[in-house]
Structures are given as structure tokens and as C-alpha cells.
Symmetry: C2
């Protein structure tokens, strides 16, 4: 994984610090590591998964699961991260910095593919307008079976 010297991350970090300051919260090592880990691993983490990864990569920090939960909830409330849940596999968090993107999820293996579609975005705005909603965000998840799992299924 390349070292972070990245305008996008810097901006994210700044806005994070900004939000912390605005809410009189403290900028701690743990909070930064959690943010950074979410950023670097372009994945969707369960709180537990994130916890284990951080424990492994930064054992000296000795992060507690409670801190991970507290931080994730805080990030979600601040709209820095969002959580999604699919099937029985529980809740997963990701950063909400990417402006608009959606998820296609394999029901068999849980793989998540991200995609973006301007046409759909446009329609969404139109629908909201029709119903008198002021649109602030959206969540779209397509469920299906990924190529690999389709092959596997066929083989059985």
C-alpha cells in the first residue's frame, strides 16, 4: 500500500479535524488510524473487521473495540462515513467521501463492486423533485450473483 501523501486524503483529514474542533472533540491517534484505515482499504468494514485489522497493523496502539464502535458512530453522525447492511452479514462501514457511488453485492460470497451511474442519479433527482423532497443522499444496492459464484454454481 502506498504511503499517504495524497491531496484527497489530506482534505478528508482536514475536514475531519474541522468537525472535531467544531464539536469540541479531540484529535486522537486512534481516531486518525481508524480514518486512515478506512481510507486506505477501499473496503467495507464491519466494526469487528476494522478492529482486527487495526490491531494487526498497529499492535502498539492497543485499540479497543469500544473505541472502534464509538469512532465509527461518530464518523457516521458527522456524515464522514456511512454504514450499509446487507442480508444477514451485518453492518458495514465505508467512508462517504466518494461523491456518488453505489454497490452491487454478491449474495453468495458477499463481494462488493462499486459503480456509478449518471443516468440513475439524474432520475433520482427528478423523482425527489416530483415528490417535493429535497434530496440529500441516496443508497442503492443491487443484489445478485457475481461471475465467479455463477461459475461455481454451474459446476456443482
Amino acid at each position: 500500500m502506498k504511503k499517504i501523501e495524497n491531496v484527497e486524503y489530506d482534505a478528508l483529514l482536514e475536514s475531519f479535524k474541522e468537525i472535531l474542533k467544531r464539536n469540541k472533540l479531540k484529535y486522537t491517534n486512534q481516531r486518525e488510524i481508524i480514518l486512515k484505515t478506512l481510507y486506505c482499504n477501499n473496503e467495507h468494514f464491519t466494526p469487528e473487521g476494522l478492529y482486527f485489522l487495526i490491531r494487526e497493523k498497529y499492535p502498539e496502539l492497543n485499540v479497543g473495540i469500544a473505541t472502534v464502535y464509538r469512532t465509527l458512530n461518530m464518523l457516521e453522525e458527522s456524515d464522514i462515513a456511512t454504514s450499509i447492511s446487507f442480508g444477514t452479514q451485518g453492518k458495514k462501514f465505508e467512508l462517504g467521501n466518494k461523491p456518488h457511488h453505489d454497490h452491487m453485492i454478491c449474495k453468495k460470497c458477499g463481494e462488493i463492486i462499486e459503480f456509478e451511474d449518471k443516468a440513475i442519479e439524474k432520475r433520482q433527482e427528478q423523482i425527489a423533485k416530483d415528490k417535493g423532497f429535497k434530496l440529500t443522499g441516496h443508497l442503492m444496492q443491487l443484489y445478485g450473483v457475481c461471475t465467479q459464484c455463477q461459475k461455481k454454481d454451474a459446476g456443482e
Copy 2:
């Protein structure tokens, strides 16, 4: 609430019985009540919420929470019901009988408006095809502020 003498419900019930039979499962009172309650209350239930409602309406049945969980999971596996999660409010189940519909959710008051959009459905199928997915379903939620809440906000 009007009594059920409803073609749509009958059809649902039939397909439910059909699925039960196909899987050598039994048609029990509890299972029917759970299905009926989901159908009559056009809402999105948490397992617990459904449990309490059923306890209240059919105390003589003495349904256990375990049965509610078991049945909901069974319904979801059979694609009769789907579960979605609304933010931190946990997992909610609804019947999947309405062929395709999505949700627009007011972040202020929690109101849920259902809508349907053919153009988006089409695009979704196209996207899935492009990525090699076999699409089995989708979940789309638009978040925003409803007309009433916008007015309220303006008034403050």
C-alpha cells in the same frame, strides 16, 4: 383495517403454501399470522416490533420471538420477504410481493414514501449485465427532507 378477502393476499398465501410444500415445511398458524401481519401492516418491521405486535393482537397464540426470527429468515430465504436496514435503526423486514419499489426516506421525520421507476430498473439491469452479475434484486433508498419538514425548517 379491512378484513382480508383480497386476491392479492390470497395469491401470496398460495405461493407461500406452495413454497412450504416444495420444501417439505409445515403450514402453521404462527407462520400464517406472521405473513398476514406483514401484509396487513404495510410497514417495515424489526423482528422485535413484529413480535410485539403479534403478541398484542394474538395473545392466545403465545408466539415466541424465536419463531418470529426463524420465520422471517425463512421468508427472506424464500424471497417472500426482504430485509433492509435504515441507518442505525437496525434491520427491518417487509414483504417482497410488490414487484419493484423503492423508498424515499425523510431524514427529519422518518416518513417513508414508496416509488417505482422503470427507467432506473432498466439501467440497473444493464449495469449488472456489464459487470457480469446475475441480478436478483435491489434496494434503493433516497434520503432527503420531505415537503412538510422543509416548511417546518423554513419557519424556524
